[in-house]
């Protein structure tokens, strides 16, 4: 944290960081991961109310009296936990890239 204290002060410095290859690499890595996953979880999430509202396919039995609606509902939990762990793992890599940007920014 101490190392992160404002080494960058003037506006031109921020511009040069934005232009730098290491920062561009960080942005593109983040975009490649965050945008598709975000689209995916929104689709997965809204699929449940859309299916329950406009069809009865989820009312079919899965095992015993448990219907697919409950299975899909539980899958939402599994998806949330799974994507949470996936994000933590990916973010460790973003941290490395960000550290690189910070070091270059401090040296320039």
């Amino acid at each position: 944290m101490e190392a992160r204290k404002t080494k960058v002060s003037s506006e031109s410095d921020y511009s040069s960081i934005v232009q730098s290859p290491s920062f561009q690499a960080l942005l593109s890595e983040k975009k490649k991961f965050i945008i598709p996953v975000t689209i995916f979880f929104f689709c997965f999430y809204f699929a449940l109310p859309i299916l329950t509202s406009y069809s009865t396919v989820l009312n079919h039995k899965f095992i015993g009296s448990i219907t697919w609606a409950w299975v899909f509902a539980f899958m939402q939990f599994v998806m949330t936990w799974g994507l949470c762990m996936l994000y933590s793992k990916k973010a460790a890599k973003f941290d490395e890239l960000a550290n690189q940007v910070i070091q270059e920014g401090g040296n320039s």
Binding site: F41, F46, I66, T80
Partner: protein, 514 residues
């Protein structure tokens, strides 16, 4: 009066006041007051987020909703949890990197205009007060039922306690009350779930099979569509739930209590596990209440089903468990209202008083004393409103707060972080249109105007057909931000955006609040 419940309530009051006493010694300056000096660890903040989030609506409301409407009640659990993906993927880290004490700080890091900060602070205060009224109404009903005190006295007790925590203990006390509450709530819910599961012969399939005959709804209990029969109404509800959390000011401020974006991230991960496990257990609470308390007993105690969880505890564990679960519900409410008072007071003292009136130059002493007065003011206003709102449905007020947060706050947050062209006019438009459309659509909707006399405030045909405004007000908030930006003659400040981009992605130049 239930004597064991009374003693357990006293126990909770006693423990939380001790925490407040120790916290008060640490609360010397503005940073300690607003954010506990940013010194919480990931797991501490994760539990505090869970404690801040799992409100009376979650514990009492969802248990009742599942018990009375089956699958439709479970929509709340799903939406409240998946919402954390929006927080984690899009909001938490940039927010921590850009802000210092409040959500308005983050918006102001890009647009240094008083009106932007002013509107952001106004949204924070409005949303927090709506949310607080719901909690106070719930608390009043609970204490009235358990201790036999009248509604006004009950609301005053909770109101005084929440004010004491915040003015003396600031964020330190608030966080620890929330952490302890989260542990109590998880423990209590787990205990009930285990007993309920045992009663269903430790078999999920048995449990579902029994539910088909246990309620007046018969088989349809297990199918969606009992409560939400209009497709777009269901989708509107779900939009508000999944997008609301990332705009709730009292959740957003929790990210300023940790030292950096990395810790903010790990606290969301801890919170998501805790909150997710809790919401899975709401199935046991709801099914258990439906099967072992019974529909008519639940409705008799409270038409909205809010007493389902305590009644279930009584049915399966006798008076002691009933007292314990009731005390847990009490702690749940206290922790949430303390967080809300602190959030609204911070917005007033930091954003209005220090940044706008004093141009950021008020002394530490002035700031802390202003924050304390603001806490008292916010509490008094909420208590007065809650006393007048006794007959309003608790879940309605909470879903309103979520929809307002999603419509008024989320668009401006997303645009500030991710859209290069966004400008001051767009920010103001997004916040104002989001706020007004969300509240306006509720006012002309079925929660306020109903054809059946006695169901809502006015009798008549609602102008807006859906119970929650999200489906229209959230897109309107985003659209207003977009159009406001395009219509303004202001040029995009690319330099400022580059600064925000670098800061939000790397934490360079992060507001150091130690």
């Amino acid at each position: 009066m239930n004597t064991s419940a009374f003693y357990m309530f006293l126990g909770i009051v006693f423990v939380t006041l001790i925490i407040t006493y120790y916290a008060s010694k640490k609360t010397k300056n503005a940073s300690e007051f607003y954010t506990a000096g940013g010194g919480l660890t990931g797991w501490q903040n994760g539990l505090a987020i869970a404690g801040d989030y799992m409100s009376a609506a979650s514990f009492l409301g969802i248990a009742g909703a599942v018990a009375l409407t089956g699958f439709d009640g479970f929509f709340y659990s799903i939406g409240f949890l998946v919402a954390y993906l929006v927080v984690l993927y899009l909001v938490a880290e940039p927010l921590r990197n850009l802000g210092k004490y409040t959500f308005a700080d983050m918006i102001a890091s890009r647009f240094d205009a008083k009106k932007v900060r002013g509107f952001a602070a106004m949204n924070t205060v409005t949303i927090s007060i709506f949310y607080m009224i719901a909690q106070l109404v719930g608390a009043g009903a609970l204490i009235k039922l358990l201790l036999g005190l009248d509604y006004t006295t009950s609301v005053l007790i909770v109101g005084v306690l929440m004010t004491v925590y915040v003015i003396f203990g600031g964020m330190h006390a608030t966080s620890w009350v929330q952490i302890i509450k989260a542990v109590l709530l998880m423990g209590g819910t787990f205990l009930i779930s285990i007993i309920v599961f045992a009663k269903f012969n430790w078999s999920i399939t048995d449990m579902f099979a029994q539910m088909k005959t246990a309620t007046p709804l018969k088989e349809s209990f297990l199918n969606p569509g009992v409560k939400y029969k209009i497709g777009l109404d269901t989708i509107s509800l779900n939009m508000g739930l999944v997008l609301g959390t990332a705009g709730l000011p009292h959740i957003l401020v929790r990210f300023f209590t940790v030292k950096d974006a990395k810790t903010a991230r790990s606290s969301v991960v801890y919170a998501t596990w805790v909150i997710g496990i809790f919401y899975v257990m709401t199935i046991f609470l709801g099914f258990g209440a439906a099967a072992f308390v019974g529909n008519s007993a639940i409705v008799t105690a409270n038409p909205a089903g809010n007493m389902a969880a305590p009644l279930l505890a009584k049915a399966i564990g006798g008076n002691m468990l009933f007292a314990f679960i009731s005390a847990v519900a009490f702690a749940t409410i206290l922790a949430v209202v303390a967080g809300l008072v602190l959030t609204a007071a911070s917005a007033f003292a930091h954003d209005f008083y220090n940044e706008i009136l004093h141009k950021g130059k008020a002394t530490e002493k002035q700031q802390v004393s202003m924050a304390r007065w603001a806490a008292i003011g916010v509490s008094v206003i909420s208590i007065i409103l809650a006393l007048g709102a006794q007959s309003l449905n608790v879940a309605f007020l909470v879903s309103l707060a979520f929809a307002v947060a999603a419509s008024a706050n989320l668009p401006v947050i997303i645009y500030t972080i991710y859209w290069k062209r966004f400008n001051t006019t767009g920010a103001v438009w997004a916040m104002v249109v989001g706020l007004i459309s969300a509240i306006g659509l509720v006012v002309i909707g079925p929660s306020v105007i109903s054809p059946e006399a006695g169901k809502a405030i006015f009798v008549g045909n609602p102008i807006f057909p859906y119970t929650t405004p999200g489906i229209l007000s959230i897109p309107l908030g985003f659209l207003a931000g977009y159009l406001g930006t395009l219509f303004s003659s202001q040029k995009a400040d690319v330099k400022k955006y580059e600064e925000v981009l670098v800061k939000s992605n790397t934490g360079i130049g992060m507001a150091n609040n130690r």
